[in-house]
Each structure stands twice: as C-alpha cells, then as structure tokens.
C-alpha cells in the first residue's frame, strides 16, 4: 500500500466508508453508432452482447445508441421522418432510477426521476403484474406532458429482477401534443423485451458466491 495514502480519519465508524464527492453529471447527448451489431449477430438473428445478454434487436430504422451514461445498458432509438419531437426509444437498464427492491416502491421512485430533465408531468401510471421472459415483473404505463413545448410522451416500463436487484426495460415515444401515438413501435419494444435473456450471473449475483 502507498504510505502516502495512509492517514487517519476521524469520523469513520465501521470497516469502511465510501466518501463520494460529486454534484455534476447530466445525461450526455445521444450519439449514433453505425451498425455496431453486425459482429454480434448470430445466424438466427439473435445478438449476443458482451457475453452478458442475448436479444433480438428491433428492426431498422431502429438504431443502437450510446447514451454515455451508466444507467443504461442497451438502448435503441427510432426517429420519424418528420423529426423532433417525433421519436421512440427502447432500452434495457441495469440500474433503473430509484433504490427499492420492491417493485411497487421502485416504480414510485422511478417516475419521480424519469425524464426529470425534460420537465414532464406524468399521469399516475397504470400498473399491472406481468411475466417478462418467464420472470415476475411489474408493468407501468403512463403518459407525460411537457406543457411549455406542448409535447407528450408515452412511457412503458417493465420492472423485473436480475438476481435480487431490480432491472427494467424502458420504452418512450415522443409526439407533439396533437399527433397520435404509433403502437407499432411499442410492439417492437415488447418483442425486444420478450426476447431478452441473460447469459451469465450478473456481477452482483456473483459477488457473494465467488472468491476473489
């Protein structure tokens, strides 16, 4: 150990304290990547992602996007020909907003933070218990309104578990207030979620079962 790092600290109670200095960091702008799935695609069309996940990606014109933030693991975006705000996003999130391990509590925490920077006011979500790839889950569907720009967004979130942690699939579709939503994109999302599977235990599942 570096002796320069060896210091005493007065208010540390038990074995270890993580002191986190922060306050910054907002989502970076989405960046498009040119066909990054080609090398990962199996003959049957299934994509194997970093030996961690397998899924059937949504069809073109959905594009894989890099949101450059830790909360998203995989995300796709589809932009309409008419342009902003007409777009849809679907994602698998390893760390959805919120903290609770209970689905009901988690969705409350989640919708308090989701699209927070877009100043969206959500209607209370419609909740129902669902099966996602054979796993118990909770579906939350709601519509949010951005009153200044007069945009609306339909959101469908599927909470389920990987090990004991809560993970989620996200779907959002933005439209101008007067335009109807397009249900085809949501069907793509449903197929993506249904096809999704894990290829190995997560880091968190392995943490207490493996020796260093």
């Amino acid at each position: 150990m570096n002796p320069a790092l060896t210091r005493r600290f007065i208010f540390q109670p038990l074995i270890a304290v993580c002191a986190a200095f922060l306050f910054s960091a907002c989502a970076q702008a989405a960046t498009r990547v040119a066909d990054p799935l080609a090398q990962m695609r199996q003959p049957d069309g299934v994509v194997v992602w970093q030996q961690e996940y397998r899924f059937v990606p949504p069809p073109l014109p959905w594009q894989l996007i890099d949101l450059d933030e830790d909360d998203y693991s995989i995300a796709f975006m589809k932009i309409c020909s008419e342009g902003y705000p007409c777009q849809s996003t679907l994602a698998y999130a390893e760390e959805p907003f919120g903290y609770s391990l209970d689905f009901e509590e988690r969705q409350t925490e989640f919708f308090k933070r989701f699209l927070w920077a877009s100043r969206v006011t959500f209607a209370p979500p419609e909740l129902r218990k669902v099966k996602i790839g054979g796993r118990e889950g909770l579906e939350g569907i709601t519509i949010g309104v951005e009153p200044v720009l007069k945009h609306k967004v339909r959101c469908k979130i599927l909470f389920f578990r990987r090990g004991e942690r809560v993970v989620a699939f996200y779907y959002t579709q933005w439209r101008s207030e007067e335009k109807p939503f397009d249900t085809a994109d949501e069907a793509d999302f449903d197929r993506f979620a249904e096809s999704f599977d894990f290829l190995r235990p997560s880091f968190y599942e392995s943490l207490f079962t493996q020796t260093p």
Partner: protein
Amino acid sequence: MEGHQRNLFLYERLNARVAGVSRDQVDTLRYWTEEMGLTFPIFSNPIGHLGIWFGTLEEGYPMFSRKTVVIDKWGVIRYVQAGSPDFREILTLLKQLHEEEAER
C-alpha cells in the same frame, strides 16, 4: 449518490457505511437529500478543508470534484478514485476488506 443508495443493502452486508461530502450548506443538502430520497449522511463542508485533504478542491473552482475514497476499519485509506464511482470496484474492495476484518 443514487448508485450508493441503491447499493446500501450490499454495504450493510459488507459491514460498510457510506457518507457524502459537499460544499453546500446544511439546509441545501437537507432539501436535496429529501428530494432524492437519500438515507445516508451527507456532510456539509463549506470551508472545504476535506476537499483540500482529499485533493478534490481545484484552485479557482468553488465545488469539490467527484472522488470516491474508501477508508478501512483502522482508519487507513484503501482506495481513491476520481470521477464517477465504479461500484464493481468499490464492492469488490469492500468484500476484500470485510474478509480481512474477519481474519484479524
């Protein structure tokens, strides 16, 4: 901070505690932590000496830069990492420290 809150149940299992440090005033932090739903302590250090000690106070910049510090049971700094926290690294280290503690 959200990531730490999400991992609190794992920190508990590893006999670890988490605390944040900020240059904001107590009232600001109280409002912010309530709004965020954070349940672990955030220390207010407007003077900034903690930032000087840990090298997170850059000259001419009023806020602490982001840094994670892990201190073991015996007060020894075992990990310092600037930038966003790497929770896998942190949890792996905490597990190691927990095992060390059991061996002593």
